[in-house]
Amino acid sequence: MANKTINIKLRVWRQNGPSDKGHFETYELNDVPTAASFLEMMDLLNEKLINEGKDPVAFDHDCREGICGACSMYINGRAHGPDTGITTCQLHMRLFKDGETITVEPWRAKAFPVIKDLMVDRSALDEIIKAGGYISVNTGGAPDANTIPIPKDVAERAFDAANCIGCGACVATCKNHSAMLFVAAKVSHLALLPQGQVEAERRAKAMIAKMDELGFGTCSNTGACEVECPKGISISFIAKLNREYLKANLIP
C-alpha cells in the first residue's frame, strides 16, 4: 500500500492570463505515489514541466492542511475532487485508478476571473466580508467573550457556520454561481452570537447588496453547494440568511 504508484493522464486547463482564451493540455505522469496528496501530485507534474523547459501549471495553495481555502480546483467534474468534506490539498491519489484520465479545471464563474491556469481571483468574497462580515466595536479578548454565557447548542451552531473557510467551492459548484452558502455562513455565525446580533440587520442587507453587485447569481435552492462544501456548511444556514434578510427588510 505504502509504496504503491499509479500512472495517470492529466487534462489540465491552461490559460496564460485573464484575457487569454485558454485551452486544455494533456500530460502523462508516471509513478505517482498513491499516498501523495493531489497538490503533491501537481508538484510532481510541475517539476517534470520545469525539467522539460515548459511553463509550470499555476495553482493557488497556502496552508496545505485544509484550513485556508486557497487550493481551488474543479477535479473530474467536482469541486475539490471526488472525496467529500475536504479541500484539494486533502485529496489523495489513492482515490484515482491506474491509467485514469483526470480533468482539472479552475473555478468557473463570472465573479471569479481566471488569473492564470487554475488560479482564480476570489477577492469578490473578501469584498462581501468588507461590506459587513465583522463586528464594529471591540468586544475584547477571549476571556471577555467567555464572560457572556452562551448556551452550548447555540455556541456549537455558531461554530458550525464559522467553519466556512471562504474557499468558493459553493460558488464554483452552483449552476447560478450564487454565493448564498458563503454569505449564509458569515451572516449566521455572527447573528447567532450576542456580540454580532446588534448589527445583524445592517449586516444582512449590506452583504446581500454586495453579493448582488459583484456578479453572483441568485439561489435556486438546488443544494449543490452543500454537497461540495469542504466544511459541511448546511443549507439550513441559507434559510437563516433568508430569514435575517426578510426580517431586516419587512419588519419595521
Partner: protein
C-alpha cells in the same frame, strides 16, 4: 421596499409567494376535477357554483396576476443567472451527484407547464367565457361536464398532452414546496425533511389527478 424587491432575495420572495399561491389554487382545482369521476350532476353543480360565486370572480384576476408574477420573475432570474457563468463553462460537471434533476430544470418544466396552460385555456376556459360551450337543456347553465369529457373521449393526442403537462407539473412540484419555504426562511434541518415529504405527496397526488382523468375517460368511461 423598491431596493428589497430588486434584490436577489426579494425577487425569490415574490417567486415563492406566487408559487405557494399557485399551489393552493391547484389544490382547489384538483378537488373540483375529481368530481368528474363522481358524475355529471356533481361536477356541473360545482362548476356553475365556481362560475357564479363572487369570491371566485374576485380571485380570477388575482390568480392571473399570480401566474404573471411567477412567470415574469422566473424569466428575469433565469436570464440574469445565465449571465453569471463567465466566459467558459465546465468541460466536466457531475451535476447529478450534486442536485436533483428537478431543481436544475425548473425553468424548462415551467415552460412546459406554460405551454400546456395555453392549450388548456383554449380548450375550456375560452369556450366557457366566450362561447362554444354546450348548455344544459332547459337552463342557461353550461354543461361543462359534457365539454370536458367529450374532448377527453375524442382525442388521445389531447389526453397525452394533458399527461405530459401533469408529469412536468409533478416534477416542478417535487422541488417547489420545500424550496419556497426555504426562500421564506421557514426551514431548518428538520423542517426541510418535513416540507420535502409533504411536497412529494402533494406532487404525486396532483399529477395523478390531472394526468389520469383524461385517460380514464378515453379508455374506461
Amino acid at each position: 421596499m423598491a431596493g428589497f424587491l430588486s434584490s436577489s432575495i426579494g425577487k425569490k420572495f415574490l417567486m415563492s409567494l406566487s408559487g405557494l399561491f399557485l399551489i393552493l389554487f391547484l389544490a382547489v382545482h384538483a378537488t373540483l376535477n375529481s368530481l368528474l369521476l363522481v358524475g355529471p350532476e356533481a361536477y356541473n353543480e360545482a362548476a356553475n357554483f365556481m362560475a357564479t360565486n363572487p369570491f371566485i370572480k374576485v380571485m380570477e384576476p388575482i390568480l392571473a396576476l399570480g401566474f404573471i408574477i411567477h412567470i415574469v420573475y422566473a424569466l428575469i432570474l433565469e436570464v440574469s443567472n445565465m449571465g453569471k457563468v463567465g466566459p467558459v463553462g465546465y468541460k466536466m460537471a457531475k451535476r447529478s451527484h450534486q442536485s436533483t434533476w428537478s431543481s436544475r430544470n425548473m425553468i424548462y418544466l415551467g415552460l412546459i407547464i406554460l405551454t400546456f396552460l395555453v392549450i388548456h385555456l383554449a380548450n375550456f376556459f375560452w369556450k366557457v367565457k366566450f362561447g362554444g360551450a354546450p348548455e344544459i337543456e332547459g337552463t342557461n347553465m353550461h354543461d361543462t361536464y359534457k365539454l370536458v369529457t367529450d374532448l377527453f373521449k375524442s382525442s388521445l393526442i389531447i389526453d397525452i398532452i394533458y399527461l405530459i403537462g401533469a408529469i412536468a407539473l409533478g416534477l416542478h412540484l417535487h422541488h417547489a414546496l420545500w424550496s419556497a419555504f426555504q426562500t421564506l426562511g421557514w426551514s431548518n434541518d428538520r423542517w426541510r425533511k418535513i416540507w420535502s415529504v409533504i411536497g412529494d405527496i402533494y406532487a404525486i397526488v396532483i399529477a395523478m389527478i390531472f394526468g389520469l382523468i383524461p385517460l380514464y375517460f378515453y379508455f374506461i368511461n
